[in-house]
Symmetry: C2
């Protein structure tokens, strides 16, 4: 029975989240029942949506319960099995949470998926070839529905969702313009991810200034936008949207700590006849196979080269998570356990 | 050659519109060229969208030119004709503007339409069986797409668009809840228009208070909303929207004078996976025949009893228009000339 280190949500944040909201404990993995497997986690996923779930607010998901292991995606290896379809050594993906091991009822729909790691490194199944990649796919293909030659933009462009968005948009013949924080990220977005341009939002003090930069980077206006951040970025983008533009609203990280992030000019939705749509990728499981096939090919052929920020060891998870919320990560944030 | 009184836009409003923005002049109607008809206007239409066009701002329509006759819908009678399809005495609808007569090139697409006034009073072709009615139809049927049993809401419920919206929603088996200003309008919305409930926004000092009233009137939440006003009303409605709700954004009269009308909690679009869509009915001419048929039947059979505020004489148009922007009208605002 291996020891299992776990990180629990100890208490809910009052405003900004901090390390004191989490608690590290050590337990023993329980013996397996029939139909269960024991998975040793190689990587844990850290994602911005987790911050929203730490609040006790009405949202699309039940809040993360206090006193329980932080929930989240994981990839790893089967180390013990009482299910005929899973053998020791199988590489698998699941929702194991912030801990070193998880016991999984393997027949629960969506609980466990075998991975092929010959062409795609296992950690990418938490990023470009996983939930964040499918998120980018759904927003671009199902909401923005771009035509070749149209201009699309994305905030947090160097992140897991943004980088997949860029590759998917370029594959469709779009002009892809990113918004990211800092010169290094912007350089990566253009040089490594193949975006046509990237704007450093940190050098702009307000939406009007950022909007001018968008005008230069998007000389034909913006036809579709994918929003991960909200606040000033969304205000600036709205000022540059073309008539009949579409905005996929995926995240509003700028407001996770309770800061007001009003939309300053909703009139623009009317005057430009825009469509704004919020979505949660887990409610659209029908697109996952198609999306994962395209994303796996993009990564396998080197057309999408996702970058990762790797924190080492379970104990590093809270600080890595808090840093990601401040944009200190560079690419997909994961925690490496093995 | 009859004398023709006209009202011009003399100068653009700085902030709130006022009577000094308009100018009354008298001209002579010119002799007709081949293919033209002279229409004597019986009623002019006053609509909120005209306020937006008085500004010199980028919008979906070219701004109303300064020094020219205020543009707008009109119904009247052919008094002279040099076109074989139109005879003196024909009742017609057009975009004659704020004047007593207009000369119309009858072959211009959309310029002139003959009216059947046996079942529908002629002025209603400016309201329930005209542009405002089709606007309600498009927002309800094409954007909100309600199912029977769902709850839909509309602001400015006693107005031309709102009253048509209510009748169309009830015909589809929805719970229809209006928002209007003052007890008389609310009483009319429920007793005459057949809404299930109506909320007087004037007794609520902020969005939180209005939102509580909406909760009581919409015990199952709101599935679809039609917005004519913006500001506090839209904030309050957003707090009560159900998951996967749809919002048709048609007007934001609260911001026409340049007041800030930020959307306070755009996060709700995401957490409730809402779709918000702005639209202009004149860009969807394909729905007009179907919409006008249904609306004409609703009015002809008494299921939709639209109310009108009638100003008498061209000189009364500016004050009636300014009053309408402050909600002083009750139902569709028209100007009666004959």
């Amino acid at each position: 029975m291996p020891k299992n280190k776990q990180i629990l949500l100890d208490n809910r944040p009052q405003g900004e989240a901090s390390a004191s909201n989490f608690k590290l404990v050590t337990t023993e993995t329980p013996p397996l029942n029939e139909g269960e497997v024991l998975v040793r986690h190689h990587y844990l996923s850290l994602d911005p949506y987790m911050r929203g779930r730490m609040n006790d607010a009405k949202s699309y998901a039940v809040p993360q319960p206090v006193g329980q292991v932080m929930q989240g995606g994981s990839v790893g290896e089967v180390v013990e099995s009482r299910h005929p379809k899973y053998a020791v050594g199988d590489k698998v993906q699941g929702m194991g949470g912030w801990q070193e091991y998880s016991v999984v009822k393997a027949d629960t729909p969506g609980a466990l998926r075998k991975l092929d790691t010959t062409h795609v490194p296992i950690s990418h199944y938490l990023g470009a070839v996983g939930m964040p990649g499918v998120t980018a796919f759904y927003g671009l293909v199902k909401i923005i529905e771009p035509k070749a030659g149209q201009t699309v933009t994305v905030s947090a462009a160097s992140g897991a969702v943004g980088s997949a968005f860029g590759a998917l948009a370029k594959a469709r013949g779009c002009r892809a313009v990113g918004i990211a924080g800092g010169p290094d990220k912007c350089k990566y977005v253009v040089e490594e991810l193949g975006f046509d341009a990237c704007i450093d939002y940190k050098v702009h003090k307000d939406a009007a200034s950022l909007s001018k930069a968008l005008r230069d980077a998007c000389p034909d206006g913006i036809d579709g936008h994918f929003e991960n951040v909200g606040g000033m970025v969304l205000d600036a983008v709205l000022l540059r949207m073309n008539a009949f533009g579409r905005i996929a609203l995926c995240g509003m990280i700028a407001g996770y700590d309770g800061q007001p992030i009003p939309l300053s000019y909703p009139q623009l939705i009317l005057t430009n006849r825009l469509r704004i749509q919020g979505f949660i990728v887990s409610e659209h499981m029908e697109v996952w196979p198609e999306a994962l096939t395209e994303l796996g090919t993009l990564v396998g052929t080197g057309k999408l080269r996702p970058r990762e920020s790797v924190a080492e060891g379970l104990e590093a998870a809270p600080e890595a998570f808090l840093g990601m919320l401040k944009g200190r990560n560079f690419g997909k944030q994961v925690v490496k356990l093995v």
